[in-house]
């Protein structure tokens, strides 16, 4: 059994689908921060069989919950302060996401207009479908991201 110490302030992302922690690490921009990060892969889980866990020691405001919810809203977010869990956040699919994914439609204005943010809007919550705000092209790789 591998032991990883407690963190004083930060967050623990639990119930990450096994093997996906590195993707989340990159999407959250953790590679660009100098915080202490523990990436636990293939941990035993009663609920999931195997799961990944991310422990990040940083200011708790630094986590972009929208990005995380977009990638996988089944992840549990434990907020840690003074070494204790002070909050468990439920994730909901964000209504709109900006510059997280990019429109691949070659006919979309985002392909030529400089400085235009790539904005996707949640068009079907049940089927988890996002569409480009400008051309309404469906973004269909969310499942692959997870």
């Amino acid at each position: 059994m591998l032991n990883i110490g407690k963190i004083e302030e930060g967050f623990v992302l639990d119930h990450i689908k096994a093997g996906k922690s590195l993707q989340i690490y990159h999407h959250l921009g953790l590679d660009k921060m100098d915080s202490t990060v523990a990436i636990i892969r293939n941990a035993r889980s009663n609920k999931m069989g195997k799961k990944d866990i991310l422990k990040v020691e940083c200011d708790i405001d630094m986590l972009d919950l929208d990005v995380l919810a977009f990638i996988d809203h089944n992840i549990t977010v434990n907020v840690i302060k003074d070494g204790e869990i002070i909050d468990k956040k439920e994730l909901q699919l964000p209504k709109e996401i900006k510059n997280i994914i990019y429109c691949k439609n070659p006919r979309c204005i985002t392909s030529i207009e400089q400085g235009l943010p790539h904005i996707f809007v949640l068009s079907d919550e049940e089927k988890e479908i996002y569409r480009c705000k400008y051309c309404e092209e469906k973004y269909s790789e969310i499942k692959e991201l997870k």
Partner: protein
């Protein structure tokens, strides 16, 4: 200030007001001939479209206003690399309202977000063409008296045809409309549209043969297979002549069925159909001018 990006930007009630105004203009155009005196419409057309541009220009001139603009990206600053955002900021200083056509989808929406004047989407790639949809709805309403309880057949390119997508989305909001989609398998209506119809419990069917459903239709909306929407010339050549509406097929239709077409036509409606009283596609062009006049007045808040 309001813009028009999609026909769904206006509620059914707002559209009803717009159509009533368009019919008033049709009945008594003289009453409106000076309503836009001193106002300027900018037609910013980044790709060629004689018909839509002239319809907008005629609409503004009929209202006593004037028109500035360009009809080709090469004759505009876009050729020098200017962004849509910058262009509209500049145009906003010259004109009171802008109609924009652009080959890139969403370009008019970007323009509207930076504009200080109302922007009308006059067609953005294969995406939306709301004033064509308003024209179609006004034509149906004017020739039938209302927009409810009929069967409409949409025939031809239902995959890339933006006028078709916009019209279906707009008609979904009216009661008792049944859709029949007539297309080759390669040009079928996209899944997201049929899913929306299923979700709303709206009756539709998809067929390949036009003859098979002709007698069921109250409206037949013909479309052209557009070369510019294909990346592959071979596919275009194979599919362009799939449907041709002619006298023989018209003989199978109801006596009061009406044929609509967004125009331009190539050969998908044979010229021998033009004299048939059920051919409504040239009347549709007139309604296009009336509805654009009503739209300009509405967006400029002159009603």
């Amino acid at each position: 200030m309001r813009h028009l990006m999609s026909p769904l930007d206006f509620s059914v009630e707002e559209l009803e007001k717009l159509f009533i105004l368009a019919n008033e203009i049709e009945k008594d155009p003289d009453r409106f001939k000076e309503k836009c005196k001193g106002k300027k419409l900018a037609t910013c057309f980044y790709e060629p479209s004689t018909r839509t541009r002239l319809s907008f220009e005629a609409a503004m001139i009929n209202l006593g206003g004037s028109v500035i603009g360009f009809s080709d990206a090469n004759s505009s600053s876009a050729a020098k690399g200017e962004s849509v955002s910058d262009t509209i900021r500049v145009i906003s200083c010259f004109a009171d309202i802008c109609a924009m056509r652009h080959p890139k989808e969403g370009a008019p929406m970007v323009a509207a977000s930076k504009s200080s004047i109302p922007v009308i989407n006059a067609g953005d790639g294969g995406h939306q063409h709301p004033t064509q949809t308003l024209t179609d709805l006004l034509t149906i309403r004017s020739l039938r008296g209302n927009i409810k309880n009929f069967t409409i057949g949409l025939c031809g390119d239902l995959k890339f045809g933006r006028t078709v997508h916009s019209l279906i989305n707009a008609l979904m909001r009216y009661p008792g409309i049944k859709f029949i989609f007539i297309s080759p398998p390669e040009l079928k209506v996209p899944d997201y549209i049929t899913s929306a119809l299923v979700d709303k419990g709206i009756e539709y069917k998809e067929v390949i043969s036009l003859e098979e459903v002709m007698s069921e239709l109250d409206f037949l909306y013909m479309t052209r297979v557009q070369r510019e929407r294909f990346f592959n010339e071979e596919d275009y050549v194979r599919l362009k002549d799939f449907y041709i509406l002619n006298k023989e097929k018209m003989a199978l239709a109801k006596d009061d069925m009406l044929v609509l077409h967004p125009l331009p036509r190539v050969n998908e409606i044979s010229v021998d159909v033009d004299d048939d009283p059920r051919a409504a596609y040239f009347k549709q062009v007139k309604y296009g001018v009336y509805v654009r006049m009503a739209l300009i007045l509405t967006l400029l808040e002159l009603v």
